[in-house]
């Protein structure tokens, strides 16, 4: 295991064993076999010298910068940030020092120098309304920019629920006509890392996988890496035993809530949400929403914003019933009308002295 990364790390006071320990833990988080940890460590350490580091271009579209916040929070003091020592982040508006024309120059220089080889990360949705006028960078609509930059990308990472599914801008009534990356780009491998925001370890894990194996990890039908999005929050939740026992918190401050019982009745979307929060957790493994006492919002699922209310249990109606009262009145009216018709028939049959046949009884 030799290479520039180890040397870079050593200069930062990170030992070889620290790095191997990090890779072992990362492999465990990605549900890879223990041997993959060593393979990862070797591949990443052997990454080529600084001038040839894989180029990464990060395009922000209609977004809130929450995804960038998430990944930057993973830097210190954990080792996740070190992965960035093996990539060359050539364009990231929030983090880069350059601005204006310089920034655009950096983007085009990186695109030209690494044509067909760079990794494109997109966060935010792409507005199509008013010819894309809702969100522009350097006088170009997001749609134009995406098409232009995606052309030379080796692969695209759609970071966060907005880039992956359209996210909050896509929520009903979707005033800007927001769509996801995969709605526009059809000819490039796209990996979705949804979440609002996604878990830092998931972001770095996917990047590590790409750098280590030179390919994208196995994806599910929503284009999400199975290693992190393979199981529901509910199935990995430490409160699951209470669900099975039928012990539920009824409000956020009752005895059940204090006892840490299941939050299903308070609207937890854990059963239909595929993400790794329950195992990887947030803020360096400190906690995660359910552990903090709030149900899962389902932020890594498409259209979670329009899925019938955050505080309504999954088995409850998504909307109040509107037709029930009217239907009951119509039913009663129909019943009364039919009974008048039947009574009319009966008295007609009576006055005509009709006889009952076997066929009548079989009706």
């Amino acid at each position: 295991m030799q290479g520039p990364l180890i040397e870079t790390l050593a200069r930062q006071g990170v030992t070889r064993r620290t790095f191997m320990k990090f890779c072992a833990t990362l492999a465990s988080a990605m549900a890879l076999p223990p041997s993959a940890g060593r393979a990862m460590a070797e591949a990443m350490a052997a990454a080529p010298a600084a001038s040839k580091r894989p180029s990464v271009i990060w395009l922000p579209f209609q977004e809130c910068t929450g995804c960038t916040e998430s990944i930057t929070r993973s830097h210190s003091p954990t080792l996740e940030g070190l992965i960035f020592d093996v990539i060359s982040l050539d364009y990231q508006e929030t983090l880069m020092a350059a601005a204006g024309h310089q920034a655009e120059e950096a983007l085009h220089a990186a695109m030209a120098a690494n044509d067909g080889k760079y990794l494109l990360i997109v966060d935010g949705s792409i507005p199509l309304g008013l010819d894309g006028a809702y969100s522009c960078i350097a006088g170009k609509s997001n749609l134009e920019t995406l098409k232009e930059v995606a052309k030379g990308a080796a692969a695209i990472v759609a970071m966060g629920s907005c880039a992956a599914y359209g996210g909050l801008p896509h929520a009903n009534p979707n005033p800007t006509g927001a769509v996801s990356v995969s709605d526009i780009i059809k000819d490039k491998p796209i990996i979705n890392i949804p979440g609002c925001p996604p878990i830092p370890t998931v972001i770095t894990g996917v990047l590590a996988h790409f750098l280590t194996f030179g390919s994208l990890p196995e994806l599910d039908k929503h284009g999400r890496p199975k290693a992190f999005y393979g199981e529901t929050i509910h199935d990995r939740c430490y409160r699951r035993p209470f669900y099975d026992q039928g012990k539920f918190a009824k409000t956020f401050d009752d005895q059940g809530a204090r006892n840490g019982w299941c939050l299903f009745e308070l609207g937890c979307k854990g059963p239909v949400t595929y993400n790794a929060c329950a195992t990887v957790k947030w803020n360096g493994g400190t906690s995660w929403p359910v552990e903090s006492g709030h149900g899962c919002l389902g932020c890594s699922e498409p259209d979670f914003w329009d899925a019938g209310g955050f505080y309504k249990a999954l088995s409850m109606p998504a909307d109040p019933l509107k037709l029930a009262a009217k239907a009951a009145v119509v039913g009663a009216a129909a019943g009364v009308a039919v009974s008048f018709v039947n009574r009319g028939k009966k008295s007609a049959a009576k006055s005509a002295h009709e006889t009952t046949t076997l066929a009548d009884l079989e009706k």
């Binding site: 199935d235 019938g308 249990a313 037709l323 029930a324």
Partner: protein, 219 residues
């Protein structure tokens, strides 16, 4: 339409339509049936102990002497799946929550492992009852499309619900949406098929008991 949208639809508009049609149908048919009326029996009533509408309602919940031995599948299988259905439908916590949100009524539920067992037993009983219906020539002769259809729409909600909980075949979200959808199909067809016996059974028993009780026969 992705699976979350499907789930939201079945929990929203789909449920709205299904409950609407269900209520419309149930009220319509109850009015229609009970407004038919019967000709007044002018003969003098004969009083016999145990012969009344109320007696019959109770008595017909029990098998007549010797019948369990003669037709064990119909009786034991029938009881098992009806009681099983009641347990699964009314004592599973998420179901109680639905009923509470619709009616305001709630009661304690049972542990999900127990519900799981009840669902398996219910399905097994239903399959046995169906097999018996297919195998016995008389039962098969008496069966119409309505019987096969109502068996299917009753079985599907139990099957899809159980498969959703067990994570079989399809992802939970999709299976849950299909489960709710199958229940909505059941709600829609219930007032217009044999399944309407859920509403009429006690009324018709009472009627039979009263008519026969008037003649002095305990049925």
């Amino acid at each position: 339409m992705n699976e979350i949208q499907l789930l939201t639809w079945v929990r929203g508009d789909g449920l709205d339509y299904a409950v609407g049609i269900f209520l419309l149908g149930v009220i319509w048919r109850l009015f229609e049936i009970y407004s038919l009326g019967r000709k007044k029996d002018l003969s003098a009533s004969r009083s016999v102990a145990g012969a009344s509408g109320w007696h019959t309602i109770f008595r017909r919940s029990l098998p007549p002497a010797g019948m369990v031995k003669k037709s064990p599948v119909s009786y034991i299988g029938g009881y098992t799946f009806h009681i099983g259905l009641a347990i699964v439908v009314f004592l599973f916590a998420p179901h109680i929550l639905l009923i509470q949100s619709l009616t305001g009524l709630s009661w304690p539920g049972l542990p999900s492992q127990f519900i799981d067992l009840a669902a398996v037993v219910t399905m097994a009983a239903m399959v046995v009852v169906l097999a018996d219906r297919i195998n016995k020539p008389v039962k098969r002769y008496l069966s119409t499309f309505g019987d096969w259809f109502t068996w299917t729409v009753t079985f599907l909600p139990v099957l899809t619900g159980w498969m959703a909980v067990q994570h079989l075949l399809l992802p939970y979200t999709t299976m849950l949406a299909l489960h709710i959808l199958s229940v909505e199909v059941l709600l829609v067809v219930l007032p217009f098929t044999k399944l309407f016996h859920a509403f009429t059974l006690f009324g018709s028993r009472w009627y039979n008991g009263t008519v026969n009780g008037h003649k002095g026969v305990a049925v």
